[in-house]
Symmetry: C2
Subunit: 453 residues, 2 copies
């Protein structure tokens, strides 16, 4: 069966990021100061981010030019291929057309370098010599380590302790790129020491690791903080994915009826979907968009749309988002990149306005889909990406039931080369499904900041 | 610093493999029957290989057409990119131009699928439903598992026992693609049982695993054997690499003065170098070619050019090749793909005729080169590929010393995502250099078959 691949010439790497803020039917809710609960301005973020990124965070310009230096690095692996999954269509016996964009060709193996490179560049421009960040499974940490190596910026990664020990190879990749990796909670920060004092055996969480990274960055002028998802500027940088997909589908003479994306913090979902949702918001072209989240961490389908912190230590500003509560610690599913209590404010806002749907899938269904995909299409997806694969298969089977030949697009956001323990456990029957812990979420939500009234 | 990448359109995937046998100044020495020591004909190989591959094995046609079905699968990741390593050139402060072809973009992460796909296709055409093979580090086994999944052929991999236990993730990848993986020596074969009877704790070797895979294939009509290197048809299939590189260098307005390739069995070296060595043999264009082998397994620089077996159990035909003796077991360096006692007959013949040079490098130098490359160019090479990187760096530094701006081409044959234990050990100071075991080689060579006189 023929491979159907759509490649763009490298001069078709987007010249601008697409900023969906320009097309929102109503503006994003204000960001609030964590202490005063008053609206914050760009200056309040200056200890953590370079001004260029802060201006992107608050921009409402529809397009923002990508610096040549960033496009020059993108060129190493972009434009990424768009495939038509003909073999999968045939195996499912569906009249649907299934296309997937493949971001696993980046040196770090996922879509994360799209923003890591941009963030490293802007920090370098403003004289920053060190970046701190957090990482769970390690996709983000290794991407920032890669970008730091290219731009000569020191990178310090607070890695959730359980992953630090369980995923030594991800750590080794970061260290090979020259990053310093610290198990979090650590005794290097006030936030870490506080957790360790109360829970000496704490295995850590993304929320704690964020607190540590933010604390260090806030202390020193030569050091800033970098986040791999959630924030507006991060989502902005990922829109190169959807813009390329749009051009590639044009080559194929197609336009998606349905877009499926997996959601953790929201960056890969935004990357593939925002350019299409933007066209819908502008009344140009309709599209149905489905976000797929893990049942163990269902911030869109089960969370509340309220103000919450981005971290456990409550150092970050308060943002309005779909959240399970910033103290909620999701079960240990293998899709570590989707284990975050909140959802990006932009994604939350659009969901609240009804511009896309969301479903929550169980772990076993997503791994079954990943194994099927690997055998049929030849590419082993990351556990996070398995959620998109499973969602796309559901849609394709629905098309079969209904006898309609719709066009489905999804983003295969990364490969699973670093996740083979999860595949081993799945094949050995050791993985299980997780209901999300309803009482724990209720408890976490009960502790929301009083600003929610 | 700008990324300089040369991409070919997919209609530039080569339509033919290049067969260097057509351009040899003298023919390859005859292949001998392992029992009778008489020359063998195509029919003798029929229990192990489909006739189409046997005919390629003995062909002297300069070009052999690539079936459309094989090119259709190649299209998933081919043409692979050619990069100019501008950042590395700058870091080395060399007047040399360094280009590298990157084969790590294949779904299995190395150049091995180039032949795995072709072999699976021809076996499928001849009604074969099962393939057996051996694998050490797992690059080859996972490539054949991938190809088997695409063509609906069952794959059974005898994996060297020490790797089976040390590299469970490689095994998991093969199993995810649907292959059956057996630790070798096993009790499933006469060859395996014989070894286990004598050495119950044997950790296995490629030579033993080959014996097991060959034994099983020879027993059943529906089962054939597949080899990932050494044989003429395997080297033939890899020539897509060099042919693409030639076209890409033409785009760059360049031609290599020096080609560097790492050598284990010889397939990746042949893939990048044969199209250029062919042009040299035909008197069209000169080129200097350097093979880089591990000091722990130096078949070209320290082996003898004699008739030897391909396996330990002595099931395979006798071929004339540079060998350290088929019973020699190399030290446990991490470049598992380079741990083979012999060298492909075609490569050995060309070396014997003086058409290229060879050097042997120590493990630590190759890992230092790999880490430097990852930090500067952003791609983490496999330990095997580190030999090519180190060789290219040596040549670039020599250009600097001599003040000459030569053009260097090397093949980055695979990524190191499955080799992070090796990088961890390297960074922890746990890796060491290995002299090859001179007495063991002497002993292994003393046991060469009497056909050598």
């Amino acid at each position: 069966m023929e491979t159907v691949k759509f490649l763009l010439d490298e001069d078709r790497i987007p010249t601008h990021w697409y900023n969906i803020a320009a097309d929102l039917p109503s503006p994003l809710p204000t960001v609030l100061h964590p202490g005063t609960h008053q609206p914050i301005g760009p200056g309040d973020l200056a200890p953590l981010f370079p001004m260029a990124l802060i201006m992107q965070e608050v921009s409402t310009e529809r397009t923002i030019e990508i610096p040549d230096e960033v496009r020059d690095v993108y060129r190493q692996w972009r434009p990424t291929p768009l495939y038509r999954a003909r073999r999968l269509e045939q195996a499912l016996d569906t009249p649907a057309k299934i296309y997937y964009k493949y971001e696993g060709v980046s040196p770090a193996g996922s879509h994360k370098p799209n923003t890591a490179v941009a963030q490293a560049y802007y920090n370098k421009q403003e004289g920053i010599t060190r970046l701190t960040t957090e990482t769970g499974a390690g996709q983000w940490g290794s991407s920032l380590a890669f970008a730091g190596a290219l731009f000569g910026i020191e990178v310090q990664v607070y890695m959730v302790k359980v992953s630090y020990h369980q995923k030594p190879y991800r750590r080794a990749l970061m260290e090979t790129y020259g990053a310093r990796v610290v198990a979090s909670p650590s005794d290097e920060t006030h936030a870490g020491r506080q957790v360790l004092a109360e829970y000496p055996d704490s295995t850590g969480s993304l929320g704690i690791a964020i607190s540590e990274a933010v604390e260090i960055a806030a202390q020193r002028d030569d050091t800033k903080y970098a986040l791999g998802s959630v924030l507006n500027h991060v989502l902005l940088h990922q829109t190169v994915i959807g813009q390329e997909a749009l051009a590639q589908l044009e080559m194929a003479g197609d336009y998606p009826d349905i877009i499926v994306g997996c959601t953790g913090g929201g960056s890969n979902f935004s990357g593939i979907a925002f350019p299409f949702i933007g066209a819908k918001l502008r009344g140009e072209r309709d599209v149905r968009v489905v976000a797929v989240e893990p049942a163990a961490c269902p911030s869109l389908t089960k969370g509340r749309y309220v103000y919450d912190f981005g971290d456990t230590g409550h150092y970050t500003p308060l943002v309005k988002m779909h959240t399970l509560g910033s103290t909620f610690v999701p079960s240990g599913i293998h899709a570590g990149g989707l284990r975050y209590h909140g959802m990006a404010p932009l994604v939350s806002h659009l969901y609240n306005l009804g511009h896309f749907e969301a479903i929550a899938l169980q772990q076993l269904e997503t791994f079954a889909a990943g194994v099927e995909f690997a055998r049929i299409e030849g590419i082993l997806p990351a556990p996070e990406a398995n959620h998109a694969v499973a969602g796309a298969i559901r849609e394709a089977l629905r098309c079969k039931e209904e006898g309609v030949g719709k066009t489905i697009l999804f983003n295969l956001c990364g490969h699973g080369h670093f996740d083979l323990q999860a595949y081993m456990d799945y094949q050995a029957g050791k993985l299980k499904d997780f209901e999300y812990a309803e009482e724990e979420v209720a408890m976490a939500l009960a502790g929301l900041p009083p600003v929610n009234g």
